[in-house]
Every structure is written in C-alpha cells, then in structure tokens.
C-alpha cells in the first residue's frame, strides 16, 4: 500500500473515532472536519497535484473510499459528491475553469452535484432546469432534489438544458441570490450526508460558470459525471461489507448460545460464509473496474456499472445478514450494523438504481453478444 494511502487511512480512523453513531443520530457532520479533509485533498483524491490534489489513481482512491465507507457512509457520501463534482469539472471544464475550480475543491470549499428533479429521477432526459445565455451571463431556473452533500456545499454543479440546444453543467455558488438549499429531514440512510433540495430562481451567473461553454450531449454528460459517482459508491459498499464482516465475525466468536459460540451453529456459520462471499465479490468487481480506469481501457464504462451494481446489491444483502447474526445487539439506531443496513439499501437506489444498472447491463448484452 502506498505511504500516502496508509497514512490517510490511519488519519481517518482517528478523526472519525467513535463519532459516526452520533453523526447518524443527529444527521449532521461537523463542518470543520469536512473543510479540513477537503483542504488536505482527501475529499477528491484523484484531482491532479497541479490543481492541489493528491493525484491518486482509481485503485488508491477506491481503497481509501472503502476505508471511509467502513467507518461512516455519510462521510463517504460527501467524498462521492466532492469527487463527482471535481470529475465533472475536470472532464467538462476548459483549462481555465479546471485550474480555478479544482484548486478551490482541494482548498477547503465543499461541492455537490445536482441531477435529479421532482419529475426526473432515473429518466434524466426529463430534466427541465433551464440555463439561458444572456450576454456575459447565464440565467438558471429549476428545481433540483436529493442532491447529496448540498446542505454543506459552497458550490453545486447543476445539470440543465441550454436554451439554445444541448445540455450543460453550470457551477452555482450556493450563496448567490436566487439559490435556496433546503435540507431533507430524516433520510433513511447516510443520514448526515446533507441531502437537500435546491430551488434556483433566476440565478444570474457569469457565462464562465458554464463548464466548457455548454452544449454537450445530455446522455454523455450524465454518463461522464455519474461514472465517478458509481465507482465511489461501489467502493463505499465494499467498506460497508468489510465493517459488517468484522462485526459479524467478532459477534459469532464471542457470543454463546446453547452452550457454544454462535459461529459453531451451522445456520449462523453459513451467514458468515455468505457475508465473506459478498465482500470478496464486491471487492473483485471494484478492483477490476479501477484497473480498467487506471489503464484507460474502454472496458471501464461497463466495468463501472457492473461494480456499482454488484457492490450495492451485495452490501444490501450482506448488511441484512449482519443484522441477522448480531440480532438484538444491532437492532437499535446508530449501531454500526444498523447504519450499514439502512445505508446499503440507499446504495441500491443512488447513482443508477438496481433496475437502471440491470437495463444498462442487458443493453450491453443485446448490443454486443
């Protein structure tokens, strides 16, 4: 393991400590922690060193993301959003936009990405947020919903339709007049991840806020931006599974019923085997996808969807198994395994639901096999 990654893991273990439970119960992460991690480059580790980032590859970022995911999925979700914003700026922005904005994202500013709308969830072709050019400005109008990390964000990358054709991603500072960010109360999972609805009413911004001048192909823009989010969620789910595996293993060794440890009861032992299988399958799928990313292989596109789907479904299944093994010990809010159970379920919905991933995978089979 590279030194930087090993040190980052130790630092995060230390910083999170035993606080993930209270973050989950209060639904809040300490802002100073997020700013500190952001300024150290840890919220988007793949950003190039030239832009103040750590310059990690996908495999290193993935292992780190899994580690944070094993500690706290809310914090990991913040990383997913910041990383997705950075990736979108990197792919869509001009050189000037890249150097300006990425330096801010590695300097302590927090970011989110806003795709979903009340009538555009899985079907992002139904997006109605408008970005209209007006001289040296662009004017943004629309309603975005369930934007992860938006409640903490200084800037939000908003995806919309351009008045003069094509799609665009515009960087909206949340302090601008006309921007209203409203935190969603009591989400099922990743409770402290700052999910919010965003109302944009005649938000006037400099035209330079529109990444790459806009006019991109909406499906390509969305697929590009989501690609990073899918990798991040997939690795985060590996972390959920690792934490569940450790908790279930420890409990099955130490807890005794009918005069012997739980693990020596065959029906419980089978749960442990299933949990190990889930963790290993998810890990291998993520490692393969990261390798494809780092090699620049075109296979990365499919491997990313596959990793996301395998990891999310295995995490949902694995965390349910862990609840079953720990039983009453884990059936209270805030407990690591209870959090995993709620958080993992949300991972089957975000960044491409199970069903959307299945459709993409099936399309691939129909088109190529």
């Amino acid at each position: 393991m590279p030194d930087g990654l090993a040190a980052a893991r130790v630092l995060l273990t230390d910083l999170v400590g035993d606080r993930a439970e209270s973050w989950d119960r209060t639904g809040l992460l300490p802002r100073e922690l997020l700013v500190r991690l952001g300024a150290a480059g840890y919220l988007c580790p793949q950003v190039a060193t030239a832009h103040g980032g750590l310059g990690w590859d996908s495999a290193e970022d993935g292992e780190f993301t899994a580690h944070v995911g094993s500690l706290c999925s809310s914090l990991r979700s913040i990383m997913t959003s910041q990383g997705m914003a950075a990736w979108t700026i990197d792919r869509l922005g001009t050189e000037q936009q890249r150097s300006g904005l990425l330096t801010r994202l590695t300097g302590g500013e927090l970011a989110a990405v806003a795709f979903s709308e009340p009538q555009a969830g899985s079907d992002l072709s139904a997006i109605t947020t408008r970005i209209v050019r007006d001289g040296d400005s662009v004017v943004v109008d629309g309603i975005k919903t369930w934007s992860t990390a938006a409640a903490y964000a200084d800037i939000v990358v908003v995806v919309g339709i351009l008045g003069d054709g094509g799609a665009g991603a515009v960087v909206v500072p949340t302090r601008e007049p006309g921007v209203q960010v409203e935190r969603i109360a009591d989400p099922l999972g990743c409770r402290a991840a700052g999910h919010a609805d965003i109302r944009l009413t005649r938000v006037r911004l400099p035209a330079t806020s529109l990444l790459g001048g806009g006019g991109q192909f909406l499906p390509l823009l969305v697929t590009t931006a989501l690609a990073y989010g899918r990798m991040s969620v997939a690795w985060g789910c590996v972390g959920i599974l690792r934490a569940c595996l450790a908790a279930a293993g420890a409990h099955a060794r130490s807890r005794e019923q009918f005069g012997r440890p739980l693990g020596s009861h065959q029906l419980v032992a089978r749960h442990l085997a299933d949990l190990l299988m889930a963790e290993q399958a998810a890990t291998r799928a993520c490692e393969h996808a990261s390798r494809c990313w780092d090699e620049g292989s075109a296979d990365q596109v499919l491997a990313t969807v596959l990793a996301k789907h395998v990891s999310a479904t295995q995490a949902a299944r694995g965390s349910a198994i862990a609840v079953q093994v720990l039983a009453s010990a884990a059936t209270r809010d805030g407990h690591m395994v209870a959090r995993a159970y709620r958080d993992a379920k949300c991972m089957e919905i975000i960044e491409g639901s199970n069903e959307m991933c299945q459709l993409l995978l099936a399309d691939h089979v129909l088109a190529t096999k």
Binding site: L92, F217, L302, A367
Partner: protein, 96 residues
Amino acid sequence: MTQLGVHDATADSGEVEKDILRFLEAQTKRSWDPRVDLFAAGGLSSLFAMQLVVHLEQTHGISIRGADLRLDNFRTVASMVALVYRLRGAAGASGA
C-alpha cells in the same frame, strides 16, 4: 503545412477510420457505414458513446473534454475521424 504534412495527415485519417470501424465491429458484432448516424433510433446507447470517448482517447492519444462532448462529434465514424484529427492537431500545436 508542407506537402509532406498533408500527405501524412491523409494517410493517417484513413488509419483512424479503420480503427474506429474495427472497434465498432468488435463491440457490436456488426459492420457500420462511416456516414451512418450511429445514435439514431435502433443505434448505439449513451453508455456506448462513453466507451467511444475512452477508446478514442486511449488509442489516439487525445483528450476529449468540455465542449467536444457534443453529439455531433460522435454521430458518425466520419465525424469522429474529424474530431481525432482536430484534437491531435491541437495537441501538436500546443506542444503536448
């Protein structure tokens, strides 16, 4: 540009076209006309558009970013050849 440069570029764009057609065929198990609209009804998916982006970047040493992620650049094999040629020229001009 010198006569030699023009000649090289022409030979080169033939290679780029061949590569893209090969990639399309290998991925989709069917042959494509260089001028057909790949993304028209019954054509390729948005996921495949992304695969094309990554393939072109990897194979031709270019970076497709920003405003170049327009559908018009990927609509046909011919438009992708033009894109590769233009971005290679840009990379050469900036000394990359």
